[in-house]
Every structure is written in structure tokens, then in C-alpha cells.
């Protein structure tokens, strides 16, 4: 052995465990507002991820146990499961997870070497390949015209079977962001759109509370020094400033900045996705550039793009830039500052 002879926890596995822990409040809020279907999605994604991770590690001749226990595959599975509609058919979840683990993670070299955020690759593949299934979100329980009991939800997920007389439209709805886009297209005034039931107080009935729970989990991670403040702060500030500016200029066509923050994947992205160390820059300045870039792209795609939420593509686009950002933001070393 060589010096240093001492080491300090946390290990990679402990870091991942804390991140998973920080996701729990959001999962709880999800279940509370949208029903327990998301738990099934998460379980299915987790099982798929772990199984495929083990297979890939074997194929790549890596020691299976330490890597499987590092928690990174589980985290990818959870993030993906939380990003797709909770009652999606089983093959949707399995396909997305498989893509994330096999292609985006292992074919690029596995933990530490993958340039793209695996969960976001999985999401992007799904939304391009299965746009219909990917936009059928469960309506919040409080405003759904009817809702399915848990068994029927399972039936739908695994056998695509609905109970007699049940209508898909009755318990699914588009997300607030998606609705905003279609309604604006129909030239509805902003105030009228925002008073639709799906919107809730700020960012969507139910959804805003899930976002708040992500925020809480994120603050826990900050406090535990698992993530640094640079990424969430820059991402949130950029979205707020850019959308705020547009809202001020043209309130009829641009939702308020608070809505942009509280809706969709803004919060999970700020604290859990962009903060993935492997696919982000390492320098403090680089982190600021990276996260602001992602914020800017998110807003642009949400406003002008064809997809309901811009987060996944924004993250992937910024992932490409990471080596460049790192190279240009190298801090000056001790004694060599200008």
C-alpha cells in the first residue's frame, strides 16, 4: 500500500445511495397525487436495469458485485421511471431502460466513461419512437374524471387491457406543458389556459408538489455536499431569467417564470439529472456554463420545439459540449493566477 494510507467516506455507493434517498420525497408525492402506478414503473425499470447491468458487466469482463452495488444502474432506472408516464405499457419501460443501460452506458465504456446521461438517452429514444405512449400521462387523481383501481392499472400496463366501459381519455391527460403548447396553438389567451384544472396554483395540479419534493431532496443533497450549488443555481436562474424576460415582453404567449420552474422536469433536472457528475463538467465555471446552457435550451425547446418538454434534449446537447467546456474553463493553478 502507498500513501495516503487514510481514506474518507463516502464511497461511490454511498453517494448514489444518498441520491436515491433524496428522490424518496418526490416518489411519495407522486404516489399521493397520481396513484401508485409509478411504483410499478420504478420496480420494473429497476429490475430491468440491474439485470442488464449484470449481463453487461459479465460480457465486458468486469467484476459484477462491486459495480452492481455501486447503485448507479438503480439511479438511472429511477430517474428514467420518474421521467416517463407512470402508466406506460411495460415494454415502453423495458425498452427505455435497456437503451439507457446497454447503449448509453455500457457501450460507451460503463460507469465514468459515458458521455451522455443514460436516463436522458432512454427518454429521448422513447419520445422519438413512441410519441403517443409517451404523452399519455395519468391525470392527477383530484381532477381525473374517473380513475382506475390499482389492479386495472396493472392490467393496462402489462396486457393493454382496460376494464369494461373505461375510457383512456378519462384518466389520462396531457401534461401542463403539453397542454400549454396545444392551447396556445389554438390561440387561447394565456389567462384562460392557466385557469384550466390541470394547472393548479403554479405549475400543475399535483405536479407542482412533486417538483417541490424534488427541490427538498435537492436541498438535502446540497446540505450533504453530494452536489455543488453551481449546477442547480445556474440552471434555475437561467430558466427564470429567460422565461421571465419573455413573459414580461409578451405575457400572452409566454407563461410566467414561476410556472416554468414548477412544471415538468425542471426541478428533477436541476438537482438530479444535470448534477450527474459523469456527464457534466468538473470545473466550477464549467458547471455554471453547462447548466445555464441547459436552461437556455430547455426554454427554447419548450417554447419553439415540437416536444412537450425540452429537458432531455437540452441535457443531451449540453453533454456533447462537456469536453469543450472543461477544456476552456480550466482554473489557474496555485501561484499562477494573473
Amino acid at each position: 500500500m502507498n500513501s495516503p494510507y487514510l481514506a474518507k467516506s463516502p464511497s461511490v455507493a454511498q453517494i448514489m445511495a444518498k441520491v436515491l434517498l433524496a428522490l424518496i420525497p418526490a416518489v411519495a408525492a407522486y404516489v399521493w397525487f397520481f396513484g401508485p402506478a409509478v411504483l410499478v414503473t420504478m420496480a420494473l425499470a429497476s429490475a430491468t436495469a440491474l439485470a442488464l447491468e449484470a449481463v453487461m458487466l459479465k460480457l465486458r469482463k468486469k467484476p459484477v458485485k462491486p459495480y452492481l452495488l455501486d447503485g448507479s444502474a438503480l439511479l438511472t432506472a429511477w430517474l428514467l421511471a420518474l421521467s416517463i408516464p407512470p402508466m406506460g405499457p411495460w415494454w415502453l419501460i423495458v425498452t427505455g431502460t435497456a437503451f439507457a443501460i446497454v447503449i448509453a452506458k455500457h457501450l460507451y465504456g460503463g460507469l465514468g466513461s459515458n458521455p451522455f446521461n443514460p436516463a436522458m438517452v432512454g427518454y429521448a429514444v422513447l419520445i422519438i419512437s413512441f410519441p403517443v405512449q409517451m404523452t399519455q400521462w395519468l391525470a392527477p387523481l383530484s381532477i381525473a374524471q374517473s380513475h382506475l383501481d390499482f389492479m386495472s392499472q396493472l392490467g393496462y400496463m402489462f396486457f393493454h387491457a382496460l376494464p369494461q366501459g373505461a375510457q383512456l381519455d378519462a384518466f389520462t391527460s396531457a401534461t401542463p406543458l403539453d397542454t400549454l403548447k396545444t392551447q396556445l396553438h389554438l390561440d387561447k389567451p394565456m389567462a384562460a389556459i392557466m385557469s384550466m384544472p390541470v394547472y393548479g396554483a403554479i405549475g400543475g395540479t399535483g405536479g407542482q408538489w412533486v417538483a417541490a419534493a424534488y427541490l427538498a431532496g435537492g436541498l438535502y443533497l446540497l446540505q450533504q455536499k453530494i452536489i455543488s450549488w453551481h449546477v442547480p443555481a445556474a440552471f434555475i436562474a437561467t430558466i427564470f431569467i429567460v422565461s421571465g424576460t419573455f413573459h414580461l415582453i409578451d405575457p400572452a404567449h409566454h407563461a410566467s417564470p414561476w410556472f416554468e420552474l414548477a412544471t415538468g422536469a425542471t426541478m428533477i433536472c436541476a438537482f438530479f439529472i444535470l448534477t450527474d457528475p459523469v456527464t457534466g463538467p468538473t470545473t466550477p465555471r464549467g458547471k455554471l456554463v453547462f447548466a445555464s446552457g441547459a436552461g437556455f435550451l430547455t426554454f427554447a425547446i419548450r417554447t419553439y420545439g415540437g416536444y412537450p418538454d425540452g429537458v432531455a434534449f437540452a441535457v443531451l446537447l449540453m453533454n456533447i459540449c462537456v469536453p469543450l467546456i472543461d477544456a476552456y474553463t480550466q482554473p489557474a493553478v496555485f501561484g499562477k493566477k494573473k
Binding site: M1, N2, S3, P4, Y5, L6, A7, K8, S9, P10, S11, V12, Q14, I15, P63, P66, Y67, D70, G110, L111, G112, S113, S228, P277, V278, G280, T282, T283, D326, Q330, P331, A332, V333, F334, G335, K336, K337
Partner: protein, 484 residues
């Protein structure tokens, strides 16, 4: 009050200093033999002045400083030289090096010592005295002190920094020295101030050593400032301490004297005092013996004392498994505890599995940048690691590999338990080896070219001579018939 500055990063490993400060500095009994390496300092090895069979007196020079960067070696006690040859030395390689083996006669008969009054001496005489007394940095770097005391023409030293920070866990030799021999340190500092014409002397001691701070304050009086600096590893690195006390950052590869500061370890100051005022060369040093032993403590050990002699004094415990020389952050595994104490030996830590459990298997780097946050040199250890591992040494140098002080902070915090510093040590020694090879190749090229030139020239000269000869012969032939 002096406004203190801070440096990037740093870590707070468990200190483990209490164990070895319970007793005063102890004098171990004379060992049966002393093994004195001739290379105990940065620079050239000293040249042996004695042969097997010689008798030597305590303090007699037995190895002469060779070249400019070097230091002399002395007999730590009187006795007989048993041999001059290759013996195991404390070095991470475990290789042998040239040593003088001395059997003490127990008489402790001194050679003539020549104390001098530094105030009546010019600095260059004092520097020569220090060189011949073998005074080198006792903080662990063992750089010959006389060189650092030569600021160069026209350079002004504003601040002389005395380093009593002792930031590395387990080590307490400087702490005990400051508690017990504060006066010697202060006198030594006064001599160095005189040699450097320094305006002020600032002594930095980490605030986890209140007894040392008060002892030093008392000895220093009004003449020097004793500053309690925050306890953080590696706050006792020379560059870090200079930064904390003066705000100056000394870049890698630059002399701190050029920026008006110079930094010495407190133990070095004490040995300067002894060398000048008592004429006594460096014959011993304080060594902390701690870790898995019954009575951890500090010993004033003669240079060359086999380490197990000291470990036996401290009483090794069950489960001991090898030893570290230095601290747990920057030290190295000893090939065995039979190797001798050298001038760089500040601490011997007896290892056990309980104290230093094997680290978990390394995982891939997850780019979390915790290493960069902890790096006092403000490097990007994860990038350096990447380049070093890939053998891309040029790129590693571009990312300031040689600014790395090998403090180990990055490795300490890495959640993937990657032996980062090991990669930097490896990369540095590969680069040095390449440079050596390059130098040798350049030399060979030049010598080969010179030889080619010489051969050409000789050929040409020969041809010319031949031509001349035949021309002469011809003229001779021509001239002959005319004479007829």
C-alpha cells in the same frame, strides 16, 4: 494581529497526535551499530572520507559534500568504522545505497568543536559552516539549508517564515521540540534572520498545539511573531504556510526568495543554532514513534539508529504489520524496520490492520471533482489521473503535473478510492527518466558528430598530405632531368 489568508481545499483527517505527546522527548540507549547513509539530502551523495577499520570521534566528518547541492555527513558518536558499502536504507524502492556502518565505542568522545559568533561573520562563511555541518531541512524535504540561506545578489527578503505547523496526522516531533527547546529554535531563527537580512520573522504553528504556541511565544518575546494558524492538512506545506501567513503564492519552479520570503522548519532552525553557536553538526534528530505501539512518544535518535531499536523502546503491540516512515498522508512503506533513521525521518508509524485498513477496490472515476475541491495546488487531479494512466505525459505536464505537491488530499477524498497520487508519482518519475534518456541521447549524438567530424578532418588532412607529397615528388621528378 496578522490577517491570515487561506488556500484552496485541504482536508481534516483524524489527528492522532495526543498519543505521542504524553511524555517528554526520550533519549534511547546507544544502539549496537549505526548505519549512516551517505545520501540523506536532496542533491549529490556525500563522498566517504573513512574506510573500514578507522576510528572516528563524535561529530567527525565522515562524508564530504560533493558538488554544490549536497551536505556533509558526520559520525553521530565515537567508535570504529565496520564497513563502507551498500545497505538497506529507508527509501520507497527498498533498494540499497552506500552507507557507513559504525560500531559505537560508548565513550562519546567528541572532536574539537568550534563555536562561532555569527554576528561577526559574513553570511558566506556561515553558509559554508552549515554545509559542512550537514544542516538540511528537517521537515522531511532535506534540502541543503545553506542554499536557501543564499538569497542571491540584490534580492531582498522581507519575511522569514518558520514552519511549526506540523499538519500531518500522528507526527509530533516538531510539537515536542517547540515545547522543550523553544529557545534553541528562536536563536536559530535569529541567526537565519541575520544571514538573510530579513525584516521580520513569523512563526506559524497550527492551533492544535497550544503548549507549543505558548512556549514559543515566551521564547520569542517581542522579536518575532508567533501566529496560531488554523489546523488543516496540508497547512504545513511550505507553500501553503507562506500563503496563509503572507498571502504570497509561490508558483512551482520559482524560488520563494524571489518573492521576498523564505521558509524553514523549526527543527532546522534548532540545528542551525547548534551548528553555529556550538559548532555541532547534525548528529541526531527528534523522531516520533507511534501507531501500533504501547508507549508512543518522541525520541532523540542518533542518525543511523536502526528503526527497530526505537520501535522496541516504544513496545510494539500484537498485530503490527510493517511501518511507515513519515505521516499517513505522504509517508511510505519501509522495506523493513531494520533500516536506519536518517535526517528525513520525522516519524515512524507502526502499522496494523485496525489503524490502516486496506482500502476498498478502486472504481472508475466518476468525475465528481471532489479531488479538485480538495487540492491545495488548485489542480484538476481527475484530468491528471486520466493523462497519467493513458501514458500521455506531455498532456499531464500541460495540466501542471509538476505543481502537484503529492499531499494526497485528492486520494483521501476520492469516493472511487483511486490511488491518484500514485499515478502522479509514476508519471513524474517516467518523465524524469525520459529526460535522462534524452540527455544521454543528446550527449551521444554530439559525441558521435564530433567523432565523424574528426574522422573527416583526418581523412582530408591525410589526403592533403598525400597530395602534397605526390606534388613534391612530381616537382622533384620534373626538376631532376633539368639538372642533368
Amino acid at each position: 494581529m496578522r490577517a491570515l489568508h487561506r488556500f484552496n481545499g485541504g482536508v481534516h483527517p483524524p489527528e492522532h497526535k495526543g498519543e505521542s505527546t504524553l511524555r517528554p522527548i526520550q533519549q534511547p540507549p546507544l544502539p549496537e551499530k549505526l548505519v549512516i547513509p551517505l545520501h540523506q539530502h536532496i542533491g549529490n551523495s556525500a563522498k566517504p572520507l573513512v574506510e573500514a577499520g578507522d576510528t572516528v570521534l563524535k561529530g567527525q566528518m565522515i562524508g564530504k559534500a560533493e558538488g554544490y547541492v549536497s551536505g556533509a555527513i558526520h559520525a553521530p558518536t565515537s567508535g570504529k568504522i565496520l564497513s563502507v558499502g551498500h545497505e538497506a536504507v529507508p527509501h520507497p524502492s527498498g533498494l540499497k545505497d552506500l552507507c557507513i556502518v559504525l560500531a559505537p565505542d560508548g565513550l562519546e568522545s567528541w572532536t574539537d568543536l568550534q563555536p562561532i559568533d555569527h554576528l561577526n561573520m559574513d553570511p558566506s562563511t556561515l553558509r559554508n559552516r552549515l554545509r559542512d555541518a550537514g544542516v538540511v531541512g528537517l521537515g522531511g524535504a532535506v534540502f541543503p539549508s545553506f542554499i536557501k540561506l543564499n538569497p542571491g545578489a540584490g534580492k531582498r527578503i522581507r519575511t522569514l517564515v518558520l514552519n511549526g505547523a506540523e499538519c500531518e496526522p500522528y507526527i509530533t516531533c516538531d510539537d515536542m521540540l517547540m515545547r522543550e527547546r523553544a529557545r534553541e529554535i528562536i536563536e536559530g531563527a535569529a541567526i537565519m534572520r541575520h544571514m538573510l537580512h530579513a525584516e521580520e520573522v513569523v512563526i506559524g504553528i497550527e492551533d492544535n498545539k497550544p503548549q507549543a504556541i505558548s512556549a514559543m511565544r515566551e521564547a520569542a518575546g517581542q522579536s518575532m511573531e508567533v501566529v496560531a494558524v488554523p489546523t488543516i492538512y496540508p497547512g504545513g506545506g511550505a507553500k501553503q504556510l507562506i500563503r496563509v501567513l503572507t498571502g504570497i503564492e509561490v508558483p512551482a519552479g520559482e524560488r520563494s526568495t524571489d518573492l521576498g520570503v523564505q521558509c524553514f522548519n523549526v527543527a532546522t532552525a534548532a540545528s542551525v543554532y547548534r551548528a553555529i553557536r556550538h559548532g555541532e553538526p547534525v548528529l541526531s534528530r527528534i523522531v516520533t514513534v507511534t501507531g501500533n505501539v504501547k508507549n508512543p512518544g518522541n525520541f532523540e535518535a542518533l542518525i543511523g539508529t536502526p528503526m527497530d531499536h526505537l520501535v522496541d523502546q516504544a513496545g510494539p503491540l500484537e498485530g503490527s504489520d510493517g511501518a511507515i516512515m513519515g505521516g499517513p498522508m505522504m509517508g511510505f512503506d519501509l522495506p523493513s524496520t531494520a533500516v536506519p533513521v536518517v535526517k528525513a525521518t520525522n516519524c515512524i508509524i507502526v502499522k496494523s490492520d485496525a489503524l490502516f485498513p486496506t482500502k476498498p477496490q478502486p472504481m472508475p472515476c466518476i468525475r465528481c471533482a471532489r479531488c479538485a475541491e480538495s487540492c491545495p495546488a488548485e489542480l484538476q487531479p481527475q484530468e491528471l489521473y486520466w493523462f497519467a494512466k493513458a501514458g500521455n505525459f506531455g498532456k499531464a505536464q500541460e495540466y501542471a503535473l509538476f505543481d502537484c505537491i503529492e499531499c494526497g488530499c485528492c486520494t483521501y477524498v476520492c469516493p472511487s478510492h483511486i490511488p491518484l497520487v500514485q499515478f502522479y508519482r509514476y508519471a513524474k518519475s517516467e518523465i524524469w527518466a525520459q529526460e535522462r534518456e534524452k540527455k544521454a541521447a543528446d550527449l551521444a549524438r554530439i559525441r558521435h558528430d564530433l567523432r565523424q567530424e574528426r574522422i573527416e578532418r583526418e581523412k582530408r588532412e591525410k589526403a592533403e598530405r598525400l597530395a602534397q607529397k605526390s606534388a613534391q615528388a612530381k616537382t622533384a621528378e620534373h626538376s631532376q632531368p633539368e639538372q642533368k
